[in-house]
């Protein structure tokens, strides 16, 4: 078995994020996903939007500078993740296809075994 990180990318300007009714619907979808794939899910969280993010990177002199916002500004921002366990990539992709990500999509990355 291998572990995969499923990163959920969504457009933060999408109404999903501002409208409480649709937000609740999305939570229900995640709940349904959790019930369907509970045996494979090893973890996961939803993240606050990127306006709450802070990035740190070294400048030319190696000094750490702190900036407001996401590390990379993109239309679709990382909004949450799951850690899943699967026999192989095909199984992982089948599970990841069920991850709710309205107004966006997901990226599946194999986790290095420790």
């Amino acid at each position: 078995m291998s572990e995969y990180l499923v990163l959920i990318y969504q457009d933060e300007k999408d109404p999903w994020w501002s409208d409480p009714a649709t937000e609740q619907k999305m939570m229900q979808q995640h709940q349904a996903f959790g019930e369907k794939h509970g045996a494979s899910i090893r973890g996961g969280n939803a993240l606050h939007a990127t306006h709450a993010a802070t990035s740190i990177r070294p400048d030319k002199n190696g000094k750490m500078t702190v900036t407001d916002g996401a590390f990379v500004e993109t239309k679709e921002a990382l909004g949450g993740y799951y850690v899943i366990e699967a026999a192989d990539l095909d199984e992982a992709l089948a599970i990841a296809k069920d991850v709710p990500a309205p107004g966006g999509g997901v990226e599946v990355r194999p986790i290095m075994p420790t």
Binding site: S2, A86, A87, D88, L89, D90, A92, L93, V108, P110
Partner: protein
């Protein structure tokens, strides 16, 4: 003896590799085992003679090397004597043809996995399913050997790290996954059929590899009508091979080909497959392309071709595959059915399409229709434009010939 081993390398390498990958689940390690098996063949065959079925011998030895190395790996660090080095019966009996076919099918689905980019899929398939060497794959796609080696390494790494499985997809996923495999095989064929640039228009090595792949898929998935369609398309196109290229290497257009040079036996085989593949509803893209090739194959001459039938097949094709190149071909067929004025009008409707603007066939098709309508100055401009954007030397030569033939008085400065 070296000859027998070299021969077995050319013919059997890919089969032996596919069977070994099933044990190692890792292409790199399988490659090492296969190499070791060939090294042992060199020594063993010298002493005992070439075995009756060299491929089966190599497969058994290579898989045994793989199994042994895995056992050694597993027992490493444990103070256990190595009691068994025998291959268990179930494993060694899988040198049966059927198991080998299954191994190859598994491997091609791995190489054409949708999580790999298309370039990598093509490279992996040629290298590991067809058994081309890395320099050969590099040459086929006109990239540097080091570039191709890096591409293959990256792709293999992804297979290992992401655990892309060695398995035939589930029935539910099969249609989509088959399409990806067929796209790869089709690209190999078209790359060989019309080399995008360079001296030779046709690269028989690639067309033959594509034909072998399509036949293999047909054998392994006899129920799949999209596979039948692609095989039909390749067979029917390849049947014209001997009539396509003149002795000086220049291209002979379909309209000028000596149809007695067409391979009738292949055409008959292709026609049966087309009929079968069109039973699918809706017909697959490659089946419709094969149906067009079938109309040409049955026509006694270019002028006696059923162009209306071809136009109507292109109409169906546009529904499943709305691409500018299909629209271009439909416009050309329409021109043959209803005359150059109608054809030119259909082509001009496609003017402004960004894909076609840099597509030499668009300009050369316009040039032909303009010439036949007597609009010679415009025809010449279109020929010259086609010539400027064609990279294939043989097609360039053809366009130059057309210019010389019809526009001697103002021959181009090229």
């Amino acid at each position: 003896m070296e000859f027998a081993v070299a021969e077995a390398h050319r013919n059997e390498w890919a089969f032996v590799l596919a069977a070994t990958v099933r044990v190692t689940r890792d292409i790199d390690r399988a490659e090492e085992c296969v190499q070791e098996a060939y090294a042992r063949a060199l020594a063993d065959w010298k002493r005992h003679g070439v075995p009756l079925r060299p491929g089966a011998w190599l497969t058994t030895v290579s898989r045994r090397i793989a199994i042994d190395s895995q056992r050694r790996h597993e027992t490493q660090g444990r103070v256990l004597p190595l009691l068994i080095s025998q291959v268990d019966e179930r494993e060694s009996s899988s040198t049966e043809t059927e198991a080998i076919s299954d191994d190859r099918l598994r491997l091609i689905f791995t190489c054409c996995h949708p999580s790999l980019n298309f370039e990598s899929q093509v490279a992996l398939t040629l290298r590991y399913v067809c058994g081309l060497t890395t320099p050969e794959v590099a040459r086929a796609f006109l990239v540097k050997e080091s570039t191709m080696a890096a591409r293959l390494t990256r792709a293999k790494k992804k297979i290992t790290l992401a655990h892309i499985p060695y398995q035939v997809p589930s029935a539910e996923e099969l249609p989509e996954r088959i399409d990806a495999v067929l796209d790869v095989v089709h690209l190999v064929f078209t790359t060989g059929h019309t080399a995008p640039s360079g001296e030779s228009l046709v690269r028989d090595d690639l067309t033959q590899r594509a034909l072998q792949l399509a036949r293999m898929l047909r054998d392994l998935l006899p129920e799949d009508l999209t596979v039948a369609g692609l095989l039909a398309l390749i067979i029917l196109s390849d049947a014209r091979r001997n009539a396509r290229i003149a002795e000086d290497g220049s291209i002979i257009l379909l309209s000028d080909q000596d149809r007695t040079k067409w391979d009738r036996q292949s055409i008959n085989e292709g026609l049966v497959l087309v009929g079968e593949s069109l039973a699918r509803r809706p017909p697959a893209r490659f089946s419709l392309m094969a149906a067009i090739a079938a109309v040409h194959a049955q026509a006694p001459s270019y002028s006696d071709t059923d162009w209306r039938e071809i136009v109507s097949i292109y109409d169906s094709l546009l529904l499943t595959w709305p691409s500018p190149v299909v629209a271009l071909n439909r416009a050309v067929a329409l021109g043959f059915a209803d005359g150059p004025a109608v054809g030119l009008a259909a082509l001009d409707e496609l003017a402004g399409n960004a894909t076609l603007a840099n597509y030499p066939y668009y300009s050369s098709a316009r040039a032909e229709f303009l010439r036949r309508l007597g609009r010679l100055a415009e025809a010449r401009t279109a020929y010259v434009h086609a010539l400027q954007i064609t990279e294939n030397e043989v097609e360039r030569a053809f366009l130059k010939k057309q210019l010389d033939r019809y526009f001697k008085e103002f021959s181009p400065r090229t």
